[in-house]
């Protein structure tokens, strides 16, 4: 199963990654090779086989919904790329028309 440059562009848009035309070309080639290799799985009969999403068998691990980490507020703010009035400044989500 190979994928085209157009499909790579679509994936990059979904994944929010800007790619150069050279990168798009290279990803289309290398990802096609990887997907071709994945075809080997079609040899396996998986009729009536359960899915494995985890291996420990643990179920319903719950905890109290408590506030924690209040002590590290200062350190967390220091990690923010842009701070205004002690709060995280984010870019505008809606554009003006």
């Amino acid at each position: 199963m190979s994928i085209t440059v157009e499909e790579v562009k679509k994936l990059a848009k979904l994944a929010r990654i800007a790619l150069t035309p050279e990168e798009e070309q290279r990803h289309a080639e290398t990802i096609s090779a990887v997907l071709d290799y994945m075809d080997v799985l079609n040899e396996v009969d998986t009729e009536n086989v359960e899915l494995t999403s985890q291996v420990t068998g643990l179920k319903n691990i719950v905890r109290l919904d408590e506030i924690r980490g209040k002590d590290s507020q200062k350190e967390l703010i220091e990690q923010m790329p842009l701070v205004k009035d002690g709060k995280l400044a984010v870019p505008a989500v809606f554009e003006e028309n």
């Binding site: 994944a15 290279r26 990803h27 990887v34 899915l51 985890q54 420990t56 990690q79």
Partner: protein, 475 residues
């Protein structure tokens, strides 16, 4: 012998007997880093001042007779694991200036036992790679031959231990990232069972496969570290509450009477280097002489492990790495609208392989392909897991080579991602099944490069893996 060459056990002995101080031991490691790391590139960050301060404090603790199990022992941490107050980049530029406000649970446990943090090890960015060439801080070179790769993704950790820049290291293994570089550099590295050690504070790659484990100079040291690192953590709901065995004590039981399986799929693999095969068989002979029963076994789904692994990992990757978007922390690119801020921050902050994995994952999880890729891989994962569960009803552990080939040249496989994915052929099956596995040195090839043997055990039977490793190390 220089102080930086000591094992944990030897260093502890010397510190307790006051043969030397932690300041001297730490300075010896820092000197070695200064002398060698320009060439090897095993560290992204060295925290010299912090390390010397911690060493002074350790010496005071020892002086008062209050030493903890690791007091004064210098260690290094893979950069994809968070360390409080010490820059943790994950070998990516998107986190170039990131200083975590907290320690990963395993790091907290180790630091609480008195260990001295030297710095952060280079790795493939977010653990993506098998050659440590996908770091945005340059590749790691193999200390034995600097034209060769150190392996990956924890190449910096294995190289730092092998080159005596630290006494031990803490790293992360999703599909072989501890074991393969440990084998390439000639040191001991263990991937614990999934659920044995807390993953809290490691930069998530594939959440259903990620594990944290030690890299050290001896099996004794790995056993000792596992006792400290293992256990339930309320910050990681996937850790089990089973009691942590006394692994060091377990080592004394030896290997007599153990049944060891030799899986034919690993030894009949096309492309398995003959020297590596011979050296692994020599190790099998040693176990037989020590009273183990050797049995030929088969794990028929082995050949599908890479395909399963490289669907599940990028899928979980693409979702985990979505959090790195330039908004709350890390690099934020300059752009006029929100979409471009996301897209440019991620374009500048991730190396090519990370982008590739995110794209593959986005593809495998997208509507119309989800059943054919992700779901199919999860079903075959069940069959691989069953293979191991069945085989461990017949044998106590398995022995295989760690890698089908010895360390390769830098640049040799970098243009062919699939070839590099296939490097994980021996190490990914145990990861997919979630069982523990360890690489121990198995000698050198004709060019003097290290070769590793891998021991795989049943889930939560690290004790068996360690006992067998100890026997192999003696010979």
């Amino acid at each position: 012998m220089n102080l930086n060459e000591l094992t944990i056990r030897e260093a502890k002995d010397g510190l307790n007997k006051k043969d030397f101080t932690s300041v001297e031991l730490t300075a010896a490691c820092l000197d070695r880093i200064k002398k060698r790391d320009g060439e090897i590139n095993a560290f992204i960050t060295v925290c010299e001042d912090l390390a010397m301060k911690e060493a002074v404090r350790a010496d005071e603790t020892i002086e008062r007779g209050e030493a903890w199990p690791l007091t004064g022992i210098p260690f290094a941490v893979k950069d994809a694991i968070c360390t409080a107050g010490v820059r943790s980049t994950g070998a990516s530029k998107i986190l170039d200036n990131y200083v975590p406000p907290f320690d990963a649970t395993v790091i907290k446990k180790i630091r609480e036992q008195g260990a001295v943090l030297l710095g952060k090890n280079n790795c493939d960015a977010f653990g993506h790679g098998a050659s440590n060439e996908n770091s945005m801080y340059g590749p790691v070179r193999n200390p034995r031959n600097t034209k060769k790769v150190a392996g990956g993704s924890s190449g910096g950790s294995a190289a730092a231990v092998a080159d005596n820049m630290c006494i031990f290291a803490v790293a992360e293994d999703t599909g072989g990232s501890i074991r393969q570089p440990a084998s390439f550099c000639g040191v001991v590295g263990m991937r614990p069972s999934y659920g044995r050690n807390s993953r809290f504070g490691i930069m998530s790659m594939a959440s259903s496969l990620d594990t944290v484990g030690p890299i050290a100079k001896s099996v004794d040291d790995v056993a000792f570290l596992m006792e400290i690192m293992a256990g339930n953590d309320k910050m990681d709901a996937t850790t089990v509450s089973d009691a942590v065995p006394n692994y060091v004590e377990e080592l004394k039981k030896g290997v007599k009477g153990l049944k060891i399986g030799v899986p034919k799929e690993y030894f009949e693999l096309e492309g398995l280097n003959e020297e590596i095969k011979e050296l692994t068989y020599k190790k099998i002979d040693i176990l037989e002489k020590a009273g183990c029963k050797i049995k030929q076994v088969s794990l028929p789904y082995t050949k599908y492990a890479i395909a399963v692994y490289y669907i599940i990992v990028p899928s979980e990757d693409s979702s985990n790495l979505a959090r790195l978007d330039g908004i709350r922390y890390g690099l934020r690119a300059d752009a006029n609208n929100l979409f471009d801020i996301y897209a440019n921050s991620r374009a500048d902050g991730f190396p090519e392989e990370v982008k590739r994995r995110i794209l593959i994952g986005t593809y495998a999880l997208s509507s119309g392909y989800y059943d054919a890729y992700y779901k199919k891989a999860q079903k075959v994962r069940t069959l691989i897991k069953n293979d191991f569960d069945e085989i461990f009803k017949k044998v106590d552990a398995l022995i295989t080579p760690t890698s089908p080939f010895s360390p390769f040249d830098l640049g040799e496989k970098i243009d062919n991602p699939l070839a590099l994915y296939l490097a994980d052929i021996m190490v990914s099956p145990a990861a997919v099944a979630g069982v523990p596995a360890m690489s121990v040195p198995a000698g050198e090839n004709y060019s003097g490069l290290p070769i590793g043997a891998q021991i795989i055990g049943p889930r939560f039977r690290e004790d068996l893996v360690l006992r067998i490793g100890k026997e192999l190390e003696k010979n």
